[in-house]
């Protein structure tokens, strides 16, 4: 028997070509194009969604970073201001101290001068009083001494004894 399956029959070739090409054209128009487009669009939308999520994440990170930077800067500024205030305070205190010291020294100096003046004046008064008093005493002593004439004679003799004549 001869079934020749290895021998293509013209009818089957003809109908296969028609069926396949028709299937190809119809599926291309009504199935593959819309399906591939829909799949492509969906993939694109998923990709876009992922990209935008990534972008949002980046933006978030950027904002957080910015906030941190701002906070850091604010803190640094605060520190600077505080430091400056402290310095100013120290300066003021130091200046005040110096001024007070100078004033004090001046006052002390003045006081000392006054005291010296007062002392000198007092001493001068005391000196004059002492001298007048001494003179008074000497005058009174001398008056008493020379009330007796003999004694004057003795003294003169005594003095003369000491004087050696050359």
């Amino acid at each position: 028997m001869n079934f020749d399956i290895g021998n293509p029959s013209i009818g089957l070739v003809f109908w296969t070509a028609i069926a396949f090409l028709l299937l190809l054209l119809l599926l291309r128009k009504f199935a593959w194009r819309p399906i591939m487009e829909a799949i492509g669009e969906r993939e694109k939308s998923i990709e876009d969604a992922l990209a935008s999520a990534e972008k949002a994440k980046d933006e978030m990170a950027r904002l957080t970073n910015e906030n941190e930077q701002l906070l850091k800067a604010a803190r640094a500024e605060r520190d600077v201001i505080l430091k400056e205030a402290k310095e100013l305070k120290d300066q003021i205190v130091a200046d005040a101290k110096v001024a007070a010291q100078a004033e004090g020294t001046k006052l002390i100096e003045q006081a000392r001068k006054e005291i010296d003046d007062q002392k000198k004046r007092a001493l001068a008064e005391v000196k004059s009083q002492v001298s007048s008093l001494s003179l008074e005493i000497a005058r009174k002593v001398l008056q008493k001494e020379f009330e007796d004439g003999q004694k004057q004679e003795a003294l003169v003799a005594d003095l003369l004894k000491d004087v050696k004549l050359n």
């Binding site: 028997m1 001869n2 079934f3 399956i5 290895g6 021998n7 293509p8 029959s9 013209i10 009818g11 089957l12 070739v13 003809f14 109908w15 296969t16 070509a17 069926a19 396949f20 090409l21 028709l22 299937l23 190809l24 119809l26 599926l27 291309r28 009504f30 199935a31 593959w32 194009r33 819309p34 399906i35 591939m36 829909a38 799949i39 669009e41 969906r42 939308s45």
Partner: protein, 361 residues
């Protein structure tokens, strides 16, 4: 290339689905076997003919002018003849399974070997010279089965396309979610790596080839009515597919492709050898596609039918369990082969297109 995806769990689950399908088809095989038993015993009772496995197998894998249902019942199919005098259209039931000649408008026709239509002269003898002039464009079993596959494919994919329009931007559902991985598989694992960035242009062809071959392979595995035809195991069908690939590859071949063929990178005095070799290569690539698909599918059918035949060769019901166990195994294997051959045909098509459109820098 990267073939790691063969071992993906996704693909393994496909095999599982095939296995489930296979159990159904095996029950059908068993039914077919019983009807064949009835037919065989019926024949023997009449003493008409002895069981010939080769004849039975060749009949099953060959094309036919009617679609066999059971016993002596079959669906008649239209016979379309293009003769030198004009068109002849009539139903194949007019032949009464080849027992009667049919008197047409122009000639008297006889069905020989249930397959060939020959012209009979007035003396009742086959007139070979007149037969040569008659072109047979009949809707045979293979053509009808192929049309069925085409209609099913159109229905399925137009419904899937509608689903994409209706559920725009949403996750796939139902049939759509079953077919989308396959479509993506063809795109991401077959077209893109082999063709490159111009792959989108060839996607319709590759997808159509893949699903056309796969569906026809699966239909061929069904042993009763809507299937039972050996469409992709017929060389005429694989010839047309391979021829389309040949045309597409050579139409889209760029100047590098043609330069490689017509002025190969060898000393000029080797051209008389190299150019014919390259031209043979152009033909042999699609030729291999044609033979591979035809041989694989036909071989699968022959193995299954041979295993069934064992029961009738031994004329013992005791052999049936063994035979059916092997048939079950073969059916599962054939389900795998059905997808695998569709995949290989598509992959090689993509590869040939990729080689033809590749840009050299």
């Amino acid at each position: 290339m990267d073939f790691r995806h063969f071992f993906d769990s996704k693909k393994i689950s496909f095999i599982a689905i095939f296995a489930v399908l296979a159990t159904f088809s095996v029950t059908n095989i068993a039914k077919a076997a019983i009807t064949d038993t009835v037919a065989a015993t019926g024949h023997e009772a009449h003493g008409e003919e002895e069981f010939e496995p080769t004849k039975m197998i060749m009949e099953h894998i060959s094309d036919a002018h009617d679609w066999h249902l059971w016993g002596h019942t079959s669906i008649p199919l239209p016979v379309i003849l293009y003769t030198d005098k004009g068109m002849e259209v009539f139903l194949s039931s007019k032949f009464h399974h080849g027992e009667h000649d049919y008197q047409g408008k122009y000639y008297t026709y006889r069905l020989v070997d249930k397959k060939k239509i020959k012209v009979v002269d007035t003396g009742g003898e086959v007139d070979e010279a007149a037969s040569q002039k008659v072109w047979d464009f009949s809707i045979t079993k293979n053509v009808a089965s192929m049309f069925l596959a085409v209609i099913v494919l159109l229905l399925i994919f137009s419904s899937v396309a509608r689903a994409y329009k209706k559920r725009e931007g949403k996750a796939p559902k139902g049939l759509q979610s079953f077919l989308e991985p396959l479509i993506l598989f063809v795109r991401d694992d077959i077209a893109r790596p082999n063709i490159g960035h111009t792959y989108a242009r060839y996607m319709p062809l590759l997808l159509t080839i893949f699903f056309f071959i796969w569906f026809n392979n699966l239909l061929g595995l069904i042993p009763i009515f809507p299937g039972a035809a050996n469409v992709t195991g017929n060389i005429a069908v694989t010839f047309v597919l391979a021829f389309i690939v040949l045309i597409v590859v050579n139409i889209n071949g760029n100047r590098y492709y043609w330069k490689h063929i017509l002025t190969p990178d060898v000393p000029w005095w080797l051209y008389p050898i190299m150019i014919p070799v390259e031209l043979v290569g152009v033909i042999s690539k699609p030729f291999a596609l044609m033979i591979r698909l035809f041989a694989n599918i036909t071989a699968g059918h022959i193995v299954i039918l041979s295993l069934i035949s064992l029961i009738f060769v031994f004329q013992s019901l005791a052999i049936a369990p063994v035979s059916l166990a092997f048939v079950l195994f073969m059916n599962v294997l054939e389900l795998l082969v059905a997808a695998l051959q569709a995949f290989i045909f598509t992959l090689l098509t993509a590869l040939f297109i990729g080689m033809a459109v590749e840009e050299h820098h």
